[in-house]
């Protein structure tokens, strides 16, 4: 018995030696690591915030300038309240860059309408209770929503889950420390975190939430996404700083899977809203546009559960086409909304949760 024990001990020592990594390290509860920098990501979040603010003025009848929107997209000229050294367009999934520029043109054109929105004319539509105004195209799309949420998917979500956490950016040097930026691997990880849009002490601090951080918080009651995603970012960053690549890879999988669920939950939420407010055209079109953008965003995750074909089919069922410039929401019937919601929930095994979003 004693012999066996000592042998086990020996083996353990050897295994420890061979695995070469350090198993014994603490994972902090907030994103306070050495040499963290993701100012480029923060810039892009702020730039999209300014674009969103500008686009939303169309709801009050302001005519938008398509060129200004496109300039904001590439950060050209004096279009922001302050100087940002970055641009959004070049980091957006390549095939989608012109898609957003076309949407910007359509939005600006719609904003010039002087009549109320109908299936024949773009224009502002008021909600039944008179509290909300949305600029809706003659195709039934709220273009501002598609642009904002679409960029969240094709840029922020894509960059975080499929660029910075990809093998290409993770199989890099983890020895040479650049002061203020850490190792190349640490820096890539921090940049992925930067796109999540939360403070370093999230979720105990939920004061300032941007884009995905905000939607994580909205789906948190059902998915527990806030703590799950934050923990995965903390775990992975600590793992990298301690050369524990196995744990890092676990964390990558957790981030991808749970961030994906946030987009699914957000889509389901807006599909529910479109169903309950089906008779309220302003709300219906607005909510369907949000749902469409969150379903579309699902494409941009390297490890997604859904397939691109499934995404395209869901979009087509909901809006007669999977490309934004061919969509029409005036023909969307209640049955289609409920069918898409069911299919989406089934793909993600969320049948029981579907109604809670």
């Amino acid at each position: 018995m004693k012999k066996i024990n000592s042998l086990v001990l020996l083996f353990t020592v050897i295994i420890g030696l061979v695995s070469c990594g350090k198993d014994d390290y603490d994972i902090p509860t907030s994103y306070n690591f050495d040499n963290v920098s993701y100012s480029g990501q923060t810039s892009r979040l702020n730039m999209l915030t300014e674009m969103k603010t500008y686009m939303s003025t169309a709801q009050q009848g302001v005519e938008l300038d398509a060129q200004k929107l496109k300039d904001m997209f590439v950060n050209e000229g004096d279009v922001f309240s302050k100087v940002y050294p970055k641009q959004i367009k070049s980091k957006t999934f390549e095939s989608e860059r012109t898609v957003f520029e076309t949407l910007m043109e359509e939005l600006a054109l719609a904003s010039k309408s002087k009549v109320a929105g109908t299936f024949e004319n773009s224009g502002i539509i008021q909600s039944n209770d008179g509290s909300k105004y949305y600029l809706i195209g003659s195709d039934g799309l709220d273009h501002a929503q598609i642009i904002e949420k679409g960029i969240m998917g094709a840029c922020f979500y894509y960059q975080a889950t499929s660029v910075y956490l990809s093998a290409d950016r993770m199989n890099v040097d983890n020895d040479a420390v650049v002061i203020g930026e850490g190792t190349a691997m640490e820096h890539h990880w921090d940049e992925a975190f930067g796109y999540f849009g939360v403070q370093t002490d999230f979720p105990s601090n939920k004061e300032i939430l941007s884009f995905w951080g905000n939607y994580s918080n909205k789906t948190d009651a059902v998915l527990n996404s806030n703590q799950t995603i934050m923990n995965a970012f903390l775990k992975g960053r600590a793992a990298i700083s301690n050369d524990d690549l196995e744990k890092r890879d676990e964390a990558i999988a957790e981030i991808r899977a749970n961030w994906e669920k946030v987009s699914v939950g957000s889509a389901l939420h807006y599909l529910n809203e479109a169903t309950t407010s089906y008779e309220d055209k302003a709300i219906r079109f607005h909510a369907l546009s949000e749902a469409i953008a969150f379903i579309y965003s699902l494409k941009f995750n390297e490890d997604k559960i859904i397939s691109n074909t499934e995404v395209n089919n869901l979009l087509t069922e909901l809006a007669t086409s999977n490309s934004f410039d061919q969509m029409n929401l005036y023909q969307t019937e209640l049955a289609a909304i409920s069918s898409v919601s069911d299919q989406l929930a089934t793909i993600y095994s969320m049948e029981d949760l579907k109604a809670e979003f």
């Binding site: 042998l7 050897i14 397939s307 691109n308």
Partner: protein, 374 residues
């Protein structure tokens, strides 16, 4: 009992220690008796120079066909120019992989085949009358530009011919078409005359395995070209780098629709070079003979056999596709057939980029597709 276990654990420790180290099997690649000069002479005299000469003949024929077309634009003269274009583009696939020495000096690969063509940039180059064919990163020249100019300007030949009729609106386009092919002619003939001059002798005498040796150059260019096949011809269009979303517009020769033929020709060219097959079709001294000579093995199988079998498999699978590639890639998810071809292409990278250089004692010195970050 105790000792036996101790020895076992010690053995396990040593094995695991050894496993952590780089595999550096002893081989004879660094000091073999293989006559490198035979290889280099075959490659220079019977492959590279004849391929360039043959390409030059094709380009001359293309220039003649384009002249005839511009002198008398018609469906017939256009069709002749298109045929001449296709055969020279196919020939180019054989010439593409020797981007060192004179070809490198003349930027042959970038000048001939930066694809996909950037039609916006191309139209601007035409209308402004400003272009710089010597820039490496422009996509308005070479075969991709001709592909667009001869096939992409209309639905059918009649409407393309309309774009070249002698009218003021067409004059800049007519001039540009000639300029594109003249630039290719100039760079090729410069490359060829460099080869026929001193370079050939320097090349054949440049023995050894150091960086910059002829063997190093050949192995590096062979690999670099092969990785362009893998990444640019198949990988990018298929969507394997873009979340499985295909990019049909990124194929080579999008407008003439000969992308699949070109892809097959390019893999064939890799294989033929590897085997040392001459332009005349004779199986001369190649890297295959080198590997056989030093008896290079991988998992107890001859490395040469592994490489040749993999080439055959890739060509077979490509030939089974229904082209052109922009159709074969599908619309929303990577098609299984293309994913499979991409995977096979990737397997061969290990054989020719890791195993082959290790056995031949040369280093891979080029950097493949660096990615930026901020």
């Amino acid at each position: 009992m105790k000792w036996r276990f101790l020895i076992l654990t010690l053995a396990a420790f040593i094995i695991s220690f050894v496993a952590c180290k780089d595999d550096k099997e002893t081989n004879t690649g660094c000091n073999s008796s293989f006559d490198q000069k035979l290889l280099f002479a075959n490659v220079a005299d019977n492959i590279i120079i004849p391929v360039y000469e043959s390409l030059q003949v094709d380009l001359d024929a293309l220039v003649d066909a384009l002249d005839a077309f511009l002198n008398a634009p018609s469906v017939t003269t256009l069709a002749n120019a298109q045929i001449a274009f296709e055969s020279s583009y196919l020939k180019w696939q054989k010439a593409a992989q020797y981007e060192f020495g004179p070809a490198e000096t003349n930027f042959l690969r970038n000048s001939f085949n930066n694809f996909p063509v950037n039609t916006g940039q191309l139209e601007t180059s035409i209308s402004s009358g400003n272009h710089n064919f010597d820039k490496l990163d422009t996509y308005d020249k070479g075969f991709p530009a001709l592909d667009y100019l001869l096939f992409g300007l209309g639905e059918d030949r009649e409407s393309i011919v309309d774009k070249y009729i002698e009218l003021p609106d067409n004059s800049k386009r007519r001039v540009y078409l000639s300029l594109v092919v003249e630039d290719m002619q100039t760079k090729l003939s410069q490359t060829l005359s460099d080869w026929k001059g001193n370079y050939k002798y320097d090349f054949v005498e440049n023995t050894g395995t150091a960086d910059g040796s002829s063997l190093g150059l050949l192995v590096n260019c062979f690999n670099e070209n092969y990785e362009i096949i893998k990444r640019d011809r198949i990988g990018i269009p298929s969507g394997v780098y873009t979340l499985n979303i295909p990019n049909p517009d990124k194929v080579e020769a999008f407008y003439s629709q000969i992308s699949l033929d070109l892809a097959i020709a390019s893999v064939n060219a890799s294989k033929q070079f590897y085997k040392g097959v001459t332009e005349a079709g004779f199986d001369g001294v190649g890297l295959d003979d080198y590997l056989q000579e030093i008896n290079a093995q991988k998992n107890d199988i001859a490395l040469d056999k592994i490489i040749q079998d993999e080439f055959e498999l890739i060509i077979q699978k490509l030939e089974a596709l229904n082209g052109p590639l922009n159709v074969a890639v599908g619309t929303s998810d990577t098609t299984p057939a293309l994913q499979e071809i991409y995977n096979e292409l990737s397997k061969q990278v290990i054989n020719i980029k890791t195993d082959l250089p290790a056995n031949l004692c040369v280093s891979i010195t080029y950097v493949d597709n660096p990615s930026d970050s901020d």
